[in-house]
Symmetry: C2
Subunit: 254 residues, 2 copies
Amino acid sequence: MPPSDPSVPPLPLSADLSRENGVALWKQIQQVLEAEIAQGVWPPGEKLPTEFQLAERFDVNRHTVRRALAGMEEKGLLRVEQGRGIFVHEHVIDYMVTKRTRFTENLRRQNRSTDGKFLFVEMEGASEKVAKALGLREGDPVICCAKVSYADGRPINVSETYFSAVRFPGIEDVLRECESITEALQRCGVRDYTRKSTRVIARLPSQADADHLRQPRNRPVLVTEGLDVDENGRPVSFGASRWASDWVQIVFEN
Amino acid sequence: MPPSDPSVPPLPLSADLSRENGVALWKQIQQVLEAEIAQGVWPPGEKLPTEFQLAERFDVNRHTVRRALAGMEEKGLLRVEQGRGIFVHEHVIDYMVTKRTRFTENLRRQNRSTDGKFLFVEMEGASEKVAKALGLREGDPVICCAKVSYADGRPINVSETYFSAVRFPGIEDVLRECESITEALQRCGVRDYTRKSTRVIARLPSQADADHLRQPRNRPVLVTEGLDVDENGRPVSFGASRWASDWVQIVFEN
DNA sequence: TTAGTTTAGATGTCTAGACAAATTTTTGCG
DNA sequence: CGCAAAAATTTGTCTAGACATCTAAACTAA
């Protein structure tokens, strides 16, 4: 494989493709490009050559290059944008799930800028799942707060957080005025809260979630359902989140 | 299936594709086929019509059908086997992670047959991670037990489980004779153990893991790292597992 | 300068055909 | 009948070309 030079191990940058070794051309192309990305030839966020240029470089048809790029996109190594080009995927974020689960704190620790956008805040009747988690009865009034959270300007999380409307009267309006949920809870008398349990599953996103997270529907999202309790162990809020698996890895620790 | 009733709104089984609504043909085909699978027209495990037949049915080129099938395969809806055909993916397994994490029990509850194969059992020096988990010092002797676990005859899990060689002298041989890890631990005097912590992340598998799990390298695996402790809270074993995301959903609950 | 339009460049979709590789079925020989 | 070889079937890969759609840059007119 390493062609000729005895002293220096050359980078396999323009490694010649073999048409007779039984390995599909597109796989070989994918390997070469992945190696180049790993070696930093194309740094994260960088624009790759166009499909046409790559096809010329490897001396194959554009469709063959496209097959290789599709494989890399599926892996999450690339971001393909019609009319713009192909970009190397930036690195993912580690989201630590601990007893103290605070979105902003969590990401600040990783030197990420954070932002949030409330989609809506409204009262509704508790579903069976929400009621069970918050210790209510099905149909009891709860406040649902839907939100999209951003890190470095990218949407990484869509969530709904539920609060008992009886226990926190007026939280509906408080939430609308606040920047974060932690802040709203403090105004409602919850000095501190901790994460009691978290469920993690993987599934495909709904169309709405995919839109919010700006990711294709055929790429899975990580789904977490978490219950927060106050210092006395009483349920404070129940939250269901979908995370952009392209950008986030959930790390669970208790 | 019910072909002709005039009153009943017919299932969109052979819905005509529109070439002018801006939706790619392959996406429309994918939608139709997914709907048919959801409606049970093609039950799990069933062989779909051939690419050629599907192309004929939708009156498109075979490559257009292939694009639709690729999307469905990526979603995990299909299993494509060269020379054999296209098969509907069987349903996934829910693996519950609770305080009592017992592989066999867990799957029996879901009426799954279980099986296991030990890859190797050997002594090695504890890595930093293993040492930290088990309360040892780096380099201390540990027994590593590597295993592939099956449900319904399919590999769904590759794991390494580590035990302190000092605390469990002779477990190396016991493991080789036993069917399960639970059984081996009982023989070593551990009456019961519980899961203390589990970390869950998602990543791409190594080549070896992909081979064991019989899945492509470009499909992610769920990775769990769990620490089990005895009734006194002392660490018993530390395990690292990779799960076939095609077949398993990890459900975490504590 | 600014706003709108045009144009060029880039990716997306679809078709058509040829051959390769893997699997299953059929055929033919003993 | 049994088994091995041949043929048919089915998916995999690659090429070639046409046109659509989206984006960004260049241009034009107010």
